[in-house]
């Protein structure tokens, strides 16, 4: 990837419909069973484009090339067995891994995670310690929100802490939290700031059932408010309740299927080595 273009397009200070100041989408009123079916293909230009994206390490691809487009207000899931390459694809989309081939474009420009525009538009929740270990939970969230110019920060952060059931831990250091609470902190850090695209790597991992229900409702609200989402998951509830489409990551061919088909594939037994 040699291009270092600045992404262009609409302002990223957009607030999702119904969102509180700062871009935090409101929690759903109920957390019941997810809506089934009705894949909603959004119209309009693609926000994110993966064009023959080939990813891997030391010049060896880990999966077949991926081609898919994600529009604003659309959720696309990456599914596949452990080690299929879902996280590697996400890391390449986030600009953390040089693609072996193909391109990733955000609003028509090749992604460069080092630029302000990319960092302003894209929020990532990956399986890594993306917090300042010596700042408390609330301080971390507040700095992220203030850094993005969110107004009424204290209220926004407190609301997000409550939504993630972290209010009691607001003044603790992240290292004092359980793994599930840390996961919720990462989600809160992504949701407390404005974003046009959410990249999530198995966000359901380590969450308790209540946390998973909350996650599904929050992500549905995000999607409905116009945020584009690309997420890797093994969770069939999340797939059926959230995904508009899914990409099956595989060694031979990566194909786009509907959410129901993806959920069926996820529950199929995986052949052993």
């Amino acid at each position: 990837m040699s291009q270092k273009q600045q992404p262009t397009g609409a302002s990223t200070r957009r607030k999702p419909a119904g969102a509180k100041p700062g871009g935090a989408a409101p929690a759903a009123k109920t957390a019941g069973a997810p809506a089934r079916g009705k894949p909603r293909r959004k119209s309009g230009p693609a926000l994110l484009e993966l064009d023959g994206l080939t990813v891997g390490y030391t010049k060896s691809p880990v999966c077949a090339p991926v081609t898919v487009q994600v529009a604003a207000g659309e959720a696309v899931c990456l599914v596949g067995a452990n080690g299929a390459g879902k996280s590697t694809v996400l890391r390449a989309v986030a600009g953390l891994l040089e693609p072996l081939g193909g391109e990733v474009r955000l609003r028509g420009s090749v992604v460069d995670e080092r630029t302000v525009e990319f960092r302003r538009q894209v929020a990532c929740v990956f399986d890594e310690d993306a917090w300042f270990a010596e700042l408390s939970v609330a301080e971390h969230l507040e700095l992220v929100a203030r850094g993005h110019g969110v107004r009424d920060v204290v209220a926004v952060v407190d609301a997000e802490l409550a939504a993630q059931r972290l209010s009691e831990h607001a003044d603790e250091l992240p290292t004092a939290l359980s793994s599930g609470q840390r996961r919720r902190l990462l989600l809160a850090a992504a949701l407390v700031r404005p974003r046009a695209l959410l990249l999530l790597d198995e966000p359901e991992q380590r969450l308790d059932p209540t946390g998973r229900d909350t996650l599904l409702e929050r992500l549905k609200a995000e999607r409905d408010a116009g945020t584009a989402m690309l997420l890797a998951t093994h969770d069939t509830v999340l797939l059926r309740g959230l995904a508009d489409r899914a990409v099956v990551i595989d060694d031979h061919v990566c194909r786009v299927v509907d959410a129901e088909e993806a959920a069926r594939l996820v529950t199929e037994p995986v052949a052993g080595p």
Partner: protein, 557 residues
């Protein structure tokens, strides 16, 4: 679900359970160790010979360096004595004894603080994970290790105090070999007792309390060491009058105090020996994790990581008024970065104390020894770089979490420059105070004319400060030595590739920044041309430090 085991197909219910059958006795510690011993002993003759050779060689080199340093220091002290005339000989020797004893006590306190934080037995991560769940009385497992560590502590104390004793008493030209050996032996014995008892004392918090008590005790020991050094510095500054105090008057109270201390410490040691089996797994794991960080920081020649590992308190909780903003002054990306760095710095007041102490070093040396002006510039270089390093540590810790930094809308190129700003401001203040102070005590401030006035030196220091901050920025993101490749033979012995770069990256820019200061010291005046040169040198250091940090940040992320 079925499973193939030795050709037989087993159901889950048929899987053999590990461990002794019901009614069988549990293995003893001796049995467990004897089972593990053969695998640990499978080393081969070549490895053993190499280990012995390396140990002998390193001991020889270390001993030679120690003896050489002792001789040089003794000669220097004797030269100082002979130049002071009749009366002050006794005075200077008394001061030498007090200084040596004070430094030895401070060194032992620092060592004990480190041992306290590691824990009573400092097992390491793997043995801790293996031992803590074993169905064996924990005291049986820990006592051999406790004995070994206590021995190391006693030997270390003996070496430090024996060396200090030999230096302090050996400065008397008419003492003779017997007197010298007595001082050496007495110091060593005292040091061994202090080391042994002190080690036993600092194991108590880990055995009977928790990780917080361990951190607290370590901090107290560090504070005591700092207080001893500060007292020495103050006595050097104000010329504390010890002229009237005869050494013999101090002997009896000192002996009584030492005997009482040794008895108390050995009593604590006996209690620790008795209670070590009560050490919790939490305490052991905490100490093991800390030891792992310490080991890796030593291998990577990273003294800042060493300090972090010793000071880390992962269970902290920050208090705030409910509903209040934690960082109300942040108003955008840049101020968010500054706020985060400042927040961390404010929570670590010891960093300000350390920077202040570094500012005093050139002053104390210049006042106490009348060191040559070249040495003064050298000390300013070291003090400036280390002060900047200390103050930029929070920024560095932030820079090492690139995933969190990406959450802020700041480009990767601009981020290191933003992080540099608070440190540069603080260092400008530091330089504006430290440089004129050192110049004053060296007799370089004399009058109100341009170049020799106090304010001229302050201006020079204020412009040098940001340059040292730039050098510290370069040093902050330097690459670690490559421990995965074969070591390289050098004049200093075998070193991992990149070890020299790890030590020199950062201080090299500090040298550039110090050149105008050096010229000012040598020419006895901070003249306008030198101040202009300082501006240029500091600007170059900031630019180079920023470029290097942006380049390295890309690799780290």
């Amino acid at each position: 679900m079925t499973l193939q085991l030795d050709g037989d197909e087993l159901d889950g219910d048929d899987l053999p359970l590990p461990g002794p059958a019901a009614g069988e006795p549990l293995p003893t510690r001796a049995e467990l160790v004897s089972e593990a011993a053969p695998s640990r002993a499978a080393r081969g003759l070549r490895t053993t010979v190499y280990d012995v050779y390396t140990t002998v060689l390193q001991t020889g080199i270390g001993g030679g360096l120690l003896l050489g340093a002792s001789g040089s220091l003794r000669n220097a002290l004797q030269a100082g004595l002979s130049s002071t005339g009749d009366g002050p000989g006794l005075v200077s020797r008394t001061s030498g004894v007090l200084t040596s004893a004070g430094l030895a006590v401070a060194a032992v306190l620092v060592l004990l603080g480190a041992l306290c934080r590691i824990g009573p037995v400092s097992l390491g991560t793997a043995p801790t994970a293996w031992w803590t769940p074993l169905p064996v009385e924990r005291g049986d497992l820990l006592r051999p290790v406790l004995r070994q560590r206590a021995l190391v502590s006693a030997v270390t104390g003996a070496v430090i105090c024996g060396w200090a004793g030999s230096i302090a008493v050996g400065t008397s030209p008419d003492l003779g070999t017997a007197g010298f050996l007595s001082a050496l032996g007495g110091g060593a014995a005292l040091g061994a007792a202090l080391g042994l008892g002190g080690y036993a004392l600092v194991t108590r918090p880990a055995i009977t309390a928790g990780t917080r008590a361990v951190v607290r005790t370590g901090a107290v020991l560090d504070a005591l060491a700092l207080a001893v050094v500060a007292a020495l510095a103050v006595s050097a500054l104000v010329g504390l009058a010890v002229d009237e105090v005869a050494p013999t008057a101090l002997v009896v109270p000192a002996v009584v105090a030492v005997v009482l201390a040794v008895v108390a410490l050995l009593t604590a040691g006996a209690r620790s020996w008795r209670d070590v089996g009560a050490t919790s797994a939490v305490s052991l794991r905490s100490g093991a994790a800390r030891l792992g960080r310490l080991t890796s920081s030593v291998l990577q020649a990273d003294v800042r990581e060493l300090g972090r590992a010793l000071a880390a308190d992962a269970t902290g909780r920050r208090r705030r008024r409910r509903g209040a903003s934690r960082v109300p002054w942040a108003r955008g990306p840049a101020s968010a970065v500054w706020s985060a760095d400042w927040l961390l710095l404010r929570r670590q007041p010891r960093r300000f104390l350390t920077a202040a102490a570094f500012a005093l070093v050139p002053l104390v040396v210049a006042a106490g020894t009348g060191a040559p002006r070249g040495v003064l510039a050298l000390l300013l270089w070291l003090a400036g770089y280390w002060a900047a390093t200390t103050l930029s540590e929070p920024a560095r810790s932030m820079a090492l979490v690139p995933a969190a930094a990406r959450a802020l809308p700041v480009s990767q190129t601009r981020l290191p420059l933003l992080r540099l700003v608070p440190v540069a401001v603080l260092m400008a203040v530091w330089g504006a105070v430290a440089v004129p102070l050192a110049a004053t005590t060296s007799g370089l401030v004399h009058g109100e004319t341009t170049g020799t006035a106090w304010w001229a030196w302050a201006l020079l220091g204020a412009f040098a400060g940001p340059g040292w901050a730039g050098a510290a920025l370069r040093g902050a993101l330097r690459p670690d030595p490559d421990l995965s490749r074969p070591q390289v033979s050098t004049a200093m012995g075998s070193l991992p590739p990149g070890a020299i770069a790890a030590v020199s990256t950062g201080p090299d820019l500090g040298v550039l920044v110090t050149v105008p200061v050096l010229l000012a010291v040598l020419s006895r005046g901070a003249f306008p041309l030198l101040v202009q040169g300082q501006v240029l040198a500091s600007a170059a250091a900031v630019g180079l430090g920023w470029w290097y940090a942006a380049h390295r940040a890309r690799k780290i992320s």
